[in-house]
């Protein structure tokens, strides 16, 4: 991936469309499905994740020559968890309503595969400037995907958009869409639509099927999980 030299603009924009973390790379599925019952929550979650991603990318990229290879995974995890704690404090203090609606999923940003994946694949191999652009692009791509998911589910499921009632739809909301089942369904349809528009074949597999080159656990599993899966 990193072999080709990219211009700064490409570094930024790849995360939004070509390598959109949620809709193309299929990372970070848990928050994508869990918090997107409202468009506003999607934006909040996306921005919180972007903040953590930006912070951890900067720190990891700055420390990439200092952290020994053997202990890099625990080191990355601690750095990420610290930023998650920080954003938790900030949201609790300044946007308590968002803090309440994100709930436990805010803590779970720590184990969001997007952040860990970017740390392992990008920040630990590139300079600070490129890592910042990468984090902003990926974060924006994630936020947009979440906003899209949240909009579809909020409009169909509760007949509102960003809290504004929509005539007709308001009277007979399809409750299923804000339930867990609707989350899976919406995401499946959006990924299919993205594939149709991009004229690509849908990815056959999540996680292990994408090849060990991109998997943060490639070293430890040695490709075995992919075979058995």
């Amino acid at each position: 991936m990193a072999e080709k030299k990219r211009t700064p603009a490409q570094e930024f924009s790849k995360g939004i469309i070509k390598e959109n973390p949620t809709l193309v790379m299929l990372l970070g599925m848990c928050p994508t499905l869990a918090v997107t019952t409202q468009a506003m929550n999607g934006i909040g979650m996306g921005l919180a994740t972007t903040f953590v991603l930006l912070g951890s990318n900067i720190v990891i990229s700055a420390l990439r020559k200092v952290i020994p290879d053997k202990v890099r995974i625990p080191s990355f995890i601690v750095i990420i968890a610290s930023f998650v704690t920080l954003i938790g404090f900030l949201l609790e203090g300044f946007v308590p309503s968002l803090y309440d609606s994100l709930g436990i999923y805010l803590t779970l940003i720590t184990v969001n595969c997007i952040i860990f994946g970017r740390a392992e694949m990008f920040a630990s191999k590139h300079g600070i400037g490129a890592s910042i652009l990468d984090a902003l692009g990926m974060g924006l791509g994630f936020t947009l995907a979440l906003f899209l998911m949240g909009s579809v589910r909020e409009i169909l499921g509760s007949g509102k958009w960003l809290g504004l009632a929509i005539p007709y739809l308001k009277d007979t909301p399809m409750l299923l869409f804000i339930m867990p089942a609707g989350g899976f369904f919406t995401l499946g349809c959006i990924i299919a639509a993205v594939n149709k528009l991009a004229k690509r074949k849908p990815p056959a597999e999540i996680a292990c099927g994408q090849g060990c080159g991109e998997c943060p656990h490639a070293d430890s599993c040695g490709g075995k999980a992919g075979e058995t899966a």
Partner: protein, 192 residues
Amino acid sequence: MKTLIVILLSAMLTDNFVLSKFMGICPFLGVSKKLDSASGMGLAVTFVMICATIVTYPIHHGILVPAHLEYFDTVVFILVIALFVQIVETVLKKTIPSLYKSLGVYLPLITTNCAVLGVTVLNIDNSYGFLQSIVNALGAGLGFMLALVIFSGVRKKLEYADIPETFKGVPATLIAASIVSVSFMGFSGLFG
């Protein structure tokens, strides 16, 4: 006070971690293609969840709360889980090689499984006691395994289905997951 049975069953069925709380979606979609890998992953997750709860509970109530450092929960818990996964892997490799062979490949994947961190944090958030926490972890793990095993059966059928080109692969899997999730909605309201 909820009884232990209610905690166990609600963590397993009504509040199933995968299908209604959306935790651990990545392994749910990634490792559910075959029945034996699904049950192996389920067992490994259940095991680590219970062990992580046994370790994090005393740390939270014994060290962090008296020192007023509750906000370090996330950092400490995730480190404990990462450390623990490593220890379990090493110990299993040395002592029970046969179990290691069947669970070993899934263990490294568990560190970033949000269901494990989720269950330890939820135990604290719901202010469960020690025994209740362990039962909750057990229920969450069994629920995870149940969802994986059921879903692996559905996916086996899905392979033979004639699906439109654009929906092949992940989209079809997600829509199948949605239908399985609908079936779990039947459990809601079981415990009032």
